[in-house]
Structure formats: structure tokens, C-alpha cells
Amino acid sequence: MTCVASRLVASGAALAGLLALASGARAVGSDDGPTAGASGVEELVLENGMRFLLVQRPGRPLVAAGWAVHAGSAAEEPGRTGVAHLIEHLLHGGSEVIGTRDYPRERALIEQREALEDERRAGAGGAELEPRIARVEERLRALRRKGEYALIYTEAGALGINAVTNHDLSYYTAMLPRSRLELWFWMESDRLLRPVFREIYDELEVVEEERAQRILSVPGGEARARFDARFWGEEHPYSWPAVGRAADLRGLRRADVEAFFGRYYTADRLTAVLVGDLDRERVGEWARRYFGRLSTGGAEAAAGAPEQASGGRRAPAEQVELTEACSCRPMVELRFATVPFAHRDAPVLDVIAGLLSGRTGRLHRRLVVERNLAFSASVRHEPQRRGGSFSLIAESGPTSDLAVLELALLAELERLRREPPNERELGKVKNQITTDASRQLSTPSGLAQRLLIYDALGDWRWLEEWPRVAQRVTVDDLERVLDAYLDPKRRAVLRLERGDVHGAWR
């Protein structure tokens, strides 16, 4: 769920370059884009509605390739959460061709295994049930070619095979030598066309393990998950984590997986991206030949998930305040409900984030350097498909208490109103945005990932639009947006205090 692939090529290049120096990513806003039309994206839409975004990068030996499905955990039904992420795992298992020694026999056994699972869930079957399940699973194992999907890629010299699921989407990426690009078309269309969800019940354990790693074993992870749930409100699909709720995961069945896949993994909800030295004609031909086989979603899919057409504003039903103990550095987070992806106010919020964050930003200057209250201070702005959030976060320094930190953060918000940025300060943030926008385009894999995410969130063109809008932001815009979204009275507060917590390190 974190995007680990983005700096892959960048760091590889740095290593291959003169100095293996890591360059720290700057925390200016969470969304950046290129300057006007700089991305050079060519759009190709197949008859079935699947969109291909093609970007030429002549001379590059590797092509960054990927596709995204425009549905993530927020499309899940309450009680069936975790299924989107589970599918991301299961798609690694292959298809009717890849990952099997004899698919027809495997299919029959999978059905037997499901029937036994019915008995198990119904509490039927008696003492004989588990041995019977074990026997079927053993026969299934004998028919599998475990890891074949990844092996075929690595044998062809592909790198960076990865997949990510968040609230709004899943995406699947790889990098291939340009002469072997057709393999990507074969493999990806194959698993979309005739996937076989193998070892569902084993994979659920892997997923549960991942959930534990991401939430339980991170200090304060559970508290943050509870804060997310309260912040969004239990009706909102962002209230559950993208890995799903533990209780729901345990109840998931093959039918849930197949239903979600059938409903959302349809051509009209897919975007593919290729960035590299492309033979344009062949790529177009392969796209049609391989992915043209996928079908378009039915009427049900067109109706889609219950997406909130409103501005995505969370209903501030209550003042959310959560204070918990944590085996971590004490911290406070002030969070505000803001705007969804590509909203016209999102770039203004990003400029505000830029003013506050970074080594020479207002928060670090005031809280860390001048007042020595905080160990660190940062900002996070996350516009998602169904709503956004803006957070001010401070970790406490040696002498401060959290109440003081919270007041200090609020004071900086207030100071943005009282002492708006002058031309130079605003210019600084805009310059940073210009650089970051270009950086998003600079590596093929980074650009591919960004295009996949933006298109699945709404429209890849935001990549070009966003920095243009940001350059036009004025002091008046800042004031208006501060009033509209960053009203101290509507803040949600998370405080993590130092303390022994059962579960934090479980």
C-alpha cells in the first residue's frame, strides 16, 4: 500500500552513476505534475474501453509497463473488506496456463476444496474434515507450478515486478527489456482474461500476516487505524484499512473474490501505461490483439460502486479526538477533511503544505529550530477519489508536552492568515513545485506509476494540469482555502503518548 516502486529506477541510476548518493525526497505536497504538456502522453483507447497511455523515451533499454484497475478497497462491501488487496496477491498465482501442470484436473479439485470449505464454515464434516481438506490440498499442490508467473518474467530479464492496492485502485507494474515487451502483453492479458485464484485460504494467512506487519507491529499503528476510522466515519469506505478488517478477512470466500474480480476487473475500468523506447505500431497492434480480448463491464459495473458525488467532504458528525499510548516518540496530528483528487482547491492546499513543510518551511523553522519544541514537524496532504485530508504532524522534542505542541501547530495555521507569505516565500514553494513536477516525469517507472495512479483516481491529465494551477495560486486563494478547510474548530486530533501498550509490538 505504500508506493515503494517509485524511486526504483531513480536509485538504480544513482548507483550506476558517479556517486551512490541518496537524494532525500522533498515533502512538498503529495501531488506534483509536470509543466505544460511536458509528459508527452499519447492516449489509445481500445474498442472494449481499455485505455493505454504511451510515452516515448528513446534509447532506454527498459520499458516501464503497468496497468491499474480503478477500484480499490473503497469499492468493497462492508463485511467483505480486504478482498481488493487479496486479489492483488492472488493474481500472482497465474492463470489457466501459467502456474499449473493440468488445469482441468486442478479446476475439479478447486471445486472439491470449496465444497469442503462449505462444510468447514458450516461446522459440519466432523473429525474427518481436516484430513480430507489436507488430502485435496496436497493433490492441488502437486498440480501447481508455484512461482511460475514471476519466474517467466525474471528469466526474460524483467525487473521490479510489483503491485500496490490502496483505497481507490490497484496497480501492477514491471520493467522489461524493450525487445521482450510482448511478453508483458501476453502475461498480463492472460491473467486478466482467465485468472485462477489459487491457494486462497493460504494466501489469506499471508495477507493477515501483512496486516499485522503494517498495523499491529508498527508502533501506534492500531491507534492510527482507529483514528482513520473515526475521522472518516463508519459509513465512509475509507474507514477501513486497505488491507481489510481482521474479522472480514477471516470470512472471505472464493465467491467474494470472483465477484469482485468479475465486477471491477473489466476493460472499461482498466488503464495501461507503457513508458520507454516503444515501437509505436507494434505496441498498438499488441494492445488490440492481447487486451482486446477482455470484455467490457456489464450494466452493474457501469452503475459502479456507491461513490460520493459530493465534494467528498466527511460529515463532521463529532469532534474527533483520540489519545492513546504508544511505544514511540510522542506525537500529535491535527487532521482536516479537504477535497478529493483533482479538485480546484487541491493545488492551493499543496501550496499551503509547501509553505509549512521542509527544512526551511514554517513548521520546522518555528517548532524545531526556534522554539525547540518538536523533534520533527511535517505536513501530509492526501486528495483521494472520495475525499481528501490534510494533516499537520509534530513529534515531541525532549521537553515539550503534547498540549503545547498542538497549540504550536494551531498557531502556525493562524499565522498563515495573519502573516501571509510574501512574494519570495510563495515563489519558493512554486519553484519547488516546478522541480518536483519535472521529477515525476524523469524516470520511466516513476512516470508510469504516476500516470496509473492519476488515471485510476480520475484523469491522468491532472499530471499536466496540476502544476499549472499551482503556479497561479495567490494569497487570496490561500486565505479562502484556509477558511474553507483548515478551520481549527473542525480539526480531528490524534495524540500518541509514550507508554507501554499491549499489542503494539505483537
Partner: protein, 514 residues
């Protein structure tokens, strides 16, 4: 990883030809739509990769500093790196860390007529990323930014290289943070393994094994950093790589206006004079026997293990054994599909979590032959035996053709990635200049790799691998002495725990190597 291409491709070609003879692709695939029924049947056309020509990319500043420029206007961004042959190896023995701190504080302590805050502010105003860092044998400065601000960014870059101010308050804060981090250096078993392994190979006083002590930090201040910078950083031996949205002639002229008159002390040797024969170092530096097993107690359920010996220093870039060594290393434990060590240890699959092997033939100092294992204590001895078997087998038997072919293809397949972006093209050629590596090394790479024979590999194995000099270091729970005896290297010798601050042995029960 990237390895088994060779086989896949060969199979694909064979199958493809058969199918074409049988009537062409359209009707051949099981799917009847021009799509092969299996991915192995896709017919790939190999796109030959040409190494870029370095000559048109090479420029020079007035003071002789070579500059390599790979222009590419795809994105309005440029990047510049400068490297000098200065690193940890040049630290005075009583001030370990001096070179690294000097490099790191160049960026953090202000430069030119800007104090630290003003420099930070100026860099952020331009929206550039500018940093400095030091390593074992080289240090450098990197800059990345929008091409709109090239001139202003170059001003900061030149100030940082020529006139760093090492502002005292910033230096003090950095030293304080460093002191704090020394206290936890026994926590991470990998850090312990690395430290003790270097000490075993070379002795604790060797520049390659020394560690920072509080006493060293007490002797370092702003003035010491400034003095080190003045004495060591200079144009001789320096190289520059530039890539991105620039015009080569213009950017070199702009750089020359700022750095062209840079003078400094003569290029220092990167390392203290290297001994002629690697054997000499190993024998002299250690009072330990040449081979053996050592263990360092660490409370982690798995163990970390290092096995190997000191390697060689490259005698020339033309040494045919060096090409054979690269192929040998790929066969033994490369990243590609052929890795004898990896496939051998797959038998102990669930007990060996990670295995990594490398044979570094050092360009500037002897490298090391190392096999790293992360392994359950119960499986460690078996894993070590397998590794030693494989070392001996390479010295004994010629590598079969199929395996040799796969290893060579694997190396050739990943070769283009060394030049996969303008940034790596400029950086690769600049590194050539830094190391004294001829550019022709790259244009010969495929031919020289292809020409390696099984006899060459065995000769390289006999020259570079020395089972009689193997040292083994185990970091983990106490090993069962009896089990380890079967290796014939004697019982595991305990190494003392060390005070994280002073690095002095703790307790009196175990003297080192006793």
C-alpha cells in the same frame, strides 16, 4: 534474476522456427488469433545494444578536470555530480570519521557568503536538491534542479565545493547526533557482522576496519573539517558528470567560470600505499591464523554468517583473468539464474533465508571474496559445507558449457542497464576517469565476456579462490562446537563483546582469538 533469458530465448527461437515452417503464426497458436499458446513461444527480436561513444561527451575545465555531459531535453531538469578521490581511508588514525564528516558538513554548514540558514534558504528557494556525502574512497557533491535555475544553482554548487564554511553550531549538532548513534551500534547484528568481519580480515587498526570512537569525535571540530577540506579536496583527481536538459558547451563554460581556477593540493592517494601481494596484508595484520571460525554472541534467533577471505587488487584493466573472474562469480553466486550457491542451498530452503556472494576485485585496493548467509543455527554447518564444496568444485572441474553459456548470457543481458539513462551514461564515463578505467572496457565487454572459456574460469578460480584461507564469522547464538568441527577448521573461537562507546572488550573471560 535476470539470468535465464538465454535459455528462454533459445527455446523460443527453436519453437518459433518450427512453427513458422508449419504455416506461420496466424494459424499456429492454440488461440487462433496470432497469440502463442505459451509465453515461451513468443518470438523475440533481440535489439542489439550499442555502448554510447564517450568521445563527444567529454569536455574539460581550464584546470584539467574532466566533465562528461549527456544532454537530454526530455524533461526540464538537470543533474550534476562531482567526485573527488577522498574518503575514509585517508582518516588520521586518531580522527576516524574526519573525511565523511567533512563531506557531509560541506552542505550543512553554509558556504561562500551565506551562513548555514541562508544557504538552506537559497537552495530551497531555487527548488533544487543539493547534497554532499563521503564514502570509503570517494566523496562528492550532487545537484539536481529545474533547468530554469541552472545559473543560480551553479553558484551555490561552486560555493559549496570551493568555500564551505563549516559553521560551528551546525558541526556541533552533527557531532552530538553522531555520539548518540554510537551508543546503539551493537543492536543491529548486520552492523556487528560488518565491523567484526573487517577486523578479522585486516585487523582493527587497518583503515578498512577502523571505527569511529568518542575520542575521535572529541578531536574533530569546525576548524578540523575546514583544514581537511583545504588539504584534500582539489581539482586533481576530480571528475564531473552532467546530464539532463543542458547545452553541453554552455554548461561546461558556465562551470568553468566558477570552477576553472580551482586549485588545490596535489591529488592524494586514495588509500595508504597498497601492498604488492594481498597475502602480505592478511598475514601481517592479524595475529590470527589464516583460516578458522569465529563467533560473536548476539541474541537473535537466526544467525548471520560471513565466509570468505581477502581478495585481490586489479593489476590491469586488461587482465584476462578478470573477465574470467566475472563469469566465475556469476556461476558461483551471481544475481542471475546460474548461482550454484543459491541452487545448492535451496536444499536447505527453509533454513537459509538469504545468501549473497561477491568477489570484488578491487580497483584501488584489494577487494574481498565474501559469501553472506542468513541461516538457522541448526542449518549453518550444512550450509557452510555446501558453500565450501562449491568453491572446491570450481577449482577442480571445468564449468559445463550449458552453465557457462547461461552465466555469460546473463551478464551480457544486464549490461545495457549500466547505461540505462543519460545520468548513468555520464556517470559511468566520469567514473572511468576517476578510476583510470579505459572507456574501451565497455566496448569490449560483450566480446571479452563471450570469449571466456571453461578453462579460463577454472584458472581464475585457482588464482582467486583459496579454500585454505577461508575465515568464517558467525553472529548469533552460541554454536555447538562439536558440529562445527566436521568442517576441519577447528572449534569456533569466541570474540568478545565490546563496549559500544569505546570498542574495548567487555569482561575478562574471553580474550580475542584465545
Amino acid at each position: 534474476m535476470r539470468g535465464r533469458v538465454a535459455r528462454a530465448t533459445r527455446v523460443a527461437t527453436r519453437v518459433a522456427c518450427g512453427v513458422v515452417l508449419a504455416g506461420g503464426w496466424a494459424g499456429a497458436g492454440a488461440q487462433g488469433n496470432g497469440i502463442p499458446d505459451r509465453p515461451e513461444r513468443i518470438r523475440f527480436e533481440d535489439a542489439p545494444f550499442e555502448v554510447p561513444d564517450p568521445r563527444p561527451l567529454r569536455w574539460e575545465l581550464s584546470n584539467g578536470v574532466p566533465v562528461f555531459v549527456a544532454a537530454d531535453a526530455t524533461v526540464p531538469l538537470f543533474s550534476i555530480s562531482l567526485a573527488v578521490p577522498v574518503g575514509d581511508r585517508l582518516d588520521p588514525p586518531d580522527r576516524v570519521g574526519l573525511a565523511s564528516l567533512t563531506a557531509a558538513m560541506m552542505r550543512r554548514g553554509g558556504a561562500g557568503d551565506r551562513d548555514a540558514d541562508a544557504f538552506d534558504e537559497a537552495a530551497d528557494y531555487l527548488g533544487i536538491e543539493i547534497d554532499s556525502l563521503g564514502g570509503a574512497t570517494r566523496s562528492g557533491v550532487i545537484l539536481e534542479g529545474s533547468s530554469r535555475v541552472l545559473e543560480e544553482a551553479l553558484d551555490l554548487f561552486a560555493d559549496l565545493v570551493l568555500q564551505p564554511r563549516f559553521e560551528a553550531a551546525r558541526v556541533e549538532r552533527a557531532l552530538e547526533n553522531l555520539r548518540g548513534s554510537l551508543a546503539t551500534r551493537n543492536d543491529d547484528p548486520l552492523a556487528v557482522l560488518d565491523r567484526e568481519w573487517r577486523a578479522l580480515l585486516w585487523g582493527r587498526d587497518d583503515p578498512r576496519a577502523r571505527v569511529v570512537l568518542p575520542a575521535h569525535l572529541a578531536a574533530i571540530d569546525s576548524a578540523a573539517l575546514a583544514a581537511f577540506h583545504r588539504e584534500r579536496w582539489g581539482p586533481r583527481g576530480a571528475v564531473i558528470a552532467i546530464s539532463g536538459d543542458v547545452e553541453a558547451g554552455k554548461v561546461v563554460a558556465a562551470l568553468d567560470r566558477r570552477l576553472g581556477r580551482w586549485e588545490g593540493s596535489p591529488a592524494p592517494a586514495v588509500t595508504p600505499a597498497a601492498p604488492d601481494a594481498p597475502e602480505a596484508t592478511a598475514a601481517e595484520s592479524a595475529t590470527e591464523p589464516a583460516a578458522g571460525i569465529w563467533w560473536f554472541a548476539h541474541p537473535s534467533p537466526q544467525g548471520k554468517l560471513m565466509l570468505g577471505h581477502e581478495g585481490d587488487q586489479r593489476r590491469s584493466w586488461d587482465d584476462p583473468d578478470a573477465w574470467a573472474l566475472t563469469v566465475m562469480a556469476e556461476v558461483f553466486g551471481g544475481a542471475g539464474a546460474v548461482s550454484r550457491v543459491r541452487s545448492r542451498l535451496r536444499a536447505e530452503e527453509s533454513l537459509v533465508y538469504r545468501v549473497r556472494a561477491s568477489y570484488g576485485l578491487g580497483a584501488q585496493e584489494p577487494g574481498t571474496f565474501e559469501v553472506f548467509l542468513e541461516v538457522e543455527p541448526a542449518a549453518a554447518v550444512a550450509a557452510v559445507r555446501s558453500v565450501i564444496d562449491e568453491i572446491e568444485r570450481l577449482r577442480r572441474e571445468p564449468v559445463p558449457d550449458v552453465e557457462l553459456d547461461l552465466a555469460k548470457r546473463s551478464l551480457i543481458d544486464v549490461f545495457p542497464l549500466l547505461f540505462d539513462s543519460p545520468e548513468s551514461v555520464a556517470g559511468r564515463f566520469a567514473e572511468d576517469a576517476l578510476l583510470g578505467r579505459p572507456h574501451a572496457y565497455w566496448s569490449q565487454y560483450r566480446a571479452r565476456t563471450t570469449a571466456v572459456t571453461a578453462t579460463d574460469v577454472r584458472r581464475a578460480a585457482r588464482r582467486f579462490l583459496h579454500p585454505d584461507r577461508l575465515r568464517i564469522l558467525w553472529v548469533g547464538p552460541e554454536p555447538a562446537a562439536k558440529e562445527w568441527e566436521v568442517l576441519g577448521l577447528g572449534p569456533p573461537r569466541p570474540l568478545p563483546a565490546r563496549d559500544p562507546a569505546t570498542m574495548q572488550p567487555l569482561g575478562s573471560g574471553r580474550a580475542e582469538g584465545s
